[in-house]
Symmetry: C2
Subunit: 502 residues, 2 copies
């Protein structure tokens, strides 16, 4: 059926939606929540499958949600074609998995491609995830899944024998090792094109922190140019079409809070594979509030990850770290950028826990690559440390900032001036040792203060885990976006204790 | 947050949706596809959980989809309260089931209640269904599920020791035994308040056929009055709040085409339980195109259904029937109504297969109730036959029509006048015996012709399975809604053979 399309001032942030009059729906034998195939007649490649909503009264036009309209690439008032969407074949494969059959690589590719092409609905994706959760995945299935998630998006290739990468399973505020590790490894002549994420529920992602220094959104060609010049980059992965199925799967599995291991590994490994990585290090923080709570779980993940990475032609290693306390002194984009800069500049005031964690993670990555490549006889961490101390990592970081169109000469003092002026202090209510800083409260307070949207917001810790304080000492300073946010942040701290002293 | 609500001229036929400006969403830390709790300040009981869409530009009001607006019971421009919806506890129970734990009655009630209250999204319901499909259900779980689905809606009670009911697992066009069985059983003095469905994907549901004679939408009190007067009724279940969770679950499991047995039995039994049934007969047609394809599957369903029904305090019996051919001569609301009337009137021209099937199903129901109650020594089918032949079943049917506000004196001739005038014949292309009539094609053609929306449309078979025909004989007449539909129906028949002769 041909019908005039009209852009609606609505969007969903996810599913595609079109709105049809009941009379047209009846003609096409369509019911509420059915799927319709919408075609741009001038550009068939921009066709898509959308959910159907209805006009309350007779209406001759097709209402198109803003997010859907943009994908169709049409003009307001242009005529499009609609028809009932055919049932995708991949539903049969999902049912196979529900029936505990092993899926072939071809079947898995068909499912993943239909996810990317919006042909499967959230509920079908949820069934797929649940079937993997309950039925498990074989190593072959997990490998196919990683490959499919990567290859249904862009895959980058670099002209280097070794392409290094790192990943952290997250949930530790301030854990900003990436800019440090990338700078050292790139300074050693190794290609390390690092794509990072922005914060979703945390106070800052690596991309948010890097954006304090320079641009982070680049396309494939630009990234290749940057890396050709500097060996490394730290960019925002969302600007690329890297593993587009992954974000769609995450949107569905997040509300379930049930992450099948097979999917989790595929999520990580597909992105590394798509970035052309050959050697990858995984940082798995263990803690009461992190994703992995005990060493057994982490070891299992390690074993499987290494095996699947090998099947994908990559070498992988895992480092299990302490995830119970924040890393570094600052939480929030600019505050974390300051920490990073201090470590790279070998500042006396640099947070030692952040430096040490970077040495550990980067050191293991260097050992995986092979220290003989660098004619070095100490440990990986020692090599990391010597490159950091020599200042060549800082030089490399400045090159990367410059290549990413930032100001390489930016100083800690200049960054401090960009912090928010609405601050208040958190004061010790007793004397003793700090024996716990609650990560979830840290993240909540830093977000309430305004981070990451306002990069100058967040928390600066004057004292950290293990430190001795006296009653009345300033434990931390909170930088808030405005007086309103300051009030709300203070109220939250009244009912949520963040720092524990005994 | 308090915000002015504005009704949008949109509806979904399912999920509740509200539309918020980005600025308000940020303030409440809400993201696309998050859920919001919306409260009518004058009537807290009308609060609901809705999905969030966004305005494309800054907009101070809350857009409310029509279906959601009506549930809230507010006026256009009234102020409502919105807040981020808390995660329902039942998600934890769903994850328990994904982890293969047995769920308690309380956990199952919580899940079902959250489905009814729209607190679970489609994707969470899909995970629940998948977890039941893969993990199975114990008898206790299936019993709790049936009870929960019934008791989260209306449950009817009748002042009779015996309340009879019947169910058919469907997919056989023309299988309209219900009005016949209900009339006989009610004539025997047994309470039989039958709720039926309208067609969704078939050419006619029992409610559509009954609507040819009289009204079918009644509320609880009206049904009680009708049944008090006549012992029986044949009404549309959709007019009641019977097992409201069931239709929501069906909407999610239908696209998956994967119906866990546990859910299927709960779907059937919950509705009987809610109608106050004590004795139920299940008609399971076996066939190549019906839900059950072999006797083993059907026997398993029988065993489990009887056990669960007993746990729910009901007696149940199953009759397995032939589901490969249509039943009766007419397909479509009025054509099926004519068949029913002919059987009840003991017309010489009445379709004998419909009569015999009604005797079989109704007879088994009478045997389950106990033939001693009727001082009868033959079989249940014989008793059915004698009540039919005596004319007292037809008298009872007329009473029911009258109680349901129809014309009890309506004749077959009057009904024939209401058939559509746009007809064409399907003619035998060879001589021989009819050895197959393809049910899926029958249903497709009858729907294309205009049934059930236009009750006068459908197919009338002049010859049926096993009949001998000569080339050129009229096999069937198709009644179409208009010349357009006639063309489309003819085209479909060109590529889809309906009647096979050899």
């Amino acid at each position: 059926m041909k019908i005039v399309a009209k852009r609606l001032p609505l969007y969903t942030g996810g599913p595609d939606i079109v709105v049809l009059g009941k009379e047209h729906a009846t003609e096409l034998d369509l019911h509420p929540m059915d799927r319709v195939y919408v075609t741009n007649p001038d550009d068939q490649s921009k066709s898509l499958t959308a959910y159907l909503h209805f006009w309350h009264e007779a209406n001759p036009v097709l209402g198109v949600f803003g997010n859907t309209f943009d994908k169709l690439g049409i003009e307001d008032g242009e005529t499009v074609s609609i028809s009932p969407a055919p049932k995708p074949n991949s539903i049969a494969h999902i049912i196979d998995k529900m029936n505990r059959m092993q899926l072939s690589e071809a079947q898995i590719f068909e499912i993943v491609r239909d996810i990317v092409d919006n042909k499967l609905t959230d509920l079908e994706i949820a069934s797929f995830i649940t079937s993997i959760y309950m039925g498990g995945t074989t190593l072959d299935e997990a490998t196919s899944l990683s490959k499919a998630i990567a290859e249904t998006g862009d895959v980058l290739k670099f002209d280097s024998e070794i392409v290094a990468d790192k990943h952290c399973s997250g949930s530790v505020p301030g854990n900003r090792t990436t800019p440090i590790v990338v700078s050292v490894i790139a300074a050693l002549g190794i290609t390390i094109p690092k794509s990072s994420s922005r914060a979703i529920t945390s106070p800052a992602g690596t991309a948010d922190v890097m954006e304090v220094f320079c641009k982070v959104a680049f396309n494939r060609d630009e990234i290749k140019k940057i890396v050709a010049k500097t060996n490394g980059c730290i960019i925002w992965g969302g600007g690329l079409r890297i593993a587009p199925a992954d974000s769609k799967i995450i949107k569905v599995r997040k509300p379930l809070k049930a992450d099948p291991e097979g999917l989790l590994m595929s999520s990580i490994l597909s992105k590394k594979y798509a970035m052309g990585a050959t050697h990858i290090i995984l940082d798995i923080p263990l803690g009461l509030e992190t994703r992995y709570k005990n060493i057994g779980e982490a070891r299992l993940l390690e074993r499987e990850t290494v095996l699947i990475a090998n099947k994908l032609g990559m070498k992988a290693s895992v480092v299990i770290t302490d995830g119970d306390e924040p890393i570094g002194s600052g939480i929030g984009p600019i505050l974390e950028a300051i920490d990073v800069l201090k470590v790279l500049q070998n500042d006396d005031d640099a947070p030692q826990d952040l430096r040490e964690k970077a040495l550990l993670v980067g050191g293991r990555l260097l050992e995986l690559i092979g220290l003989d490549k660098f004619d070095y006889e100490g440990s990986g961490a020692d090599l990391m440390s010597s490159v950091l101390s020599s200042g060549s990592a800082y030089e490399k970081f400045k090159q990367i900032i410059e290549a990413q169109e930032g100001d390489p000469e930016v100083t800690v003092e200049q960054l401090k001036k960009r912090l928010s002026e609405h601050t208040f202090d958190i004061v010790a209510d007793s004397s003793g040792m700090i024996y716990d800083i609650q990560n979830p409260i840290v993240a909540k307070v830093a977000r309430l203060s305004g981070a990451p949207k306002n990069p100058g917001c967040g928390i600066y810790f004057h004292h950290k885990f293990g430190g001795n304080v006296s009653k009345g000492d300033v434990l931390a300073t909170v930088y808030c976006g405005n007086p309103d946010k300051m009030q709300r942040t203070k109220r939250t701290l009244e009912s949520n204790k963040m720092v524990f002293i005994k």
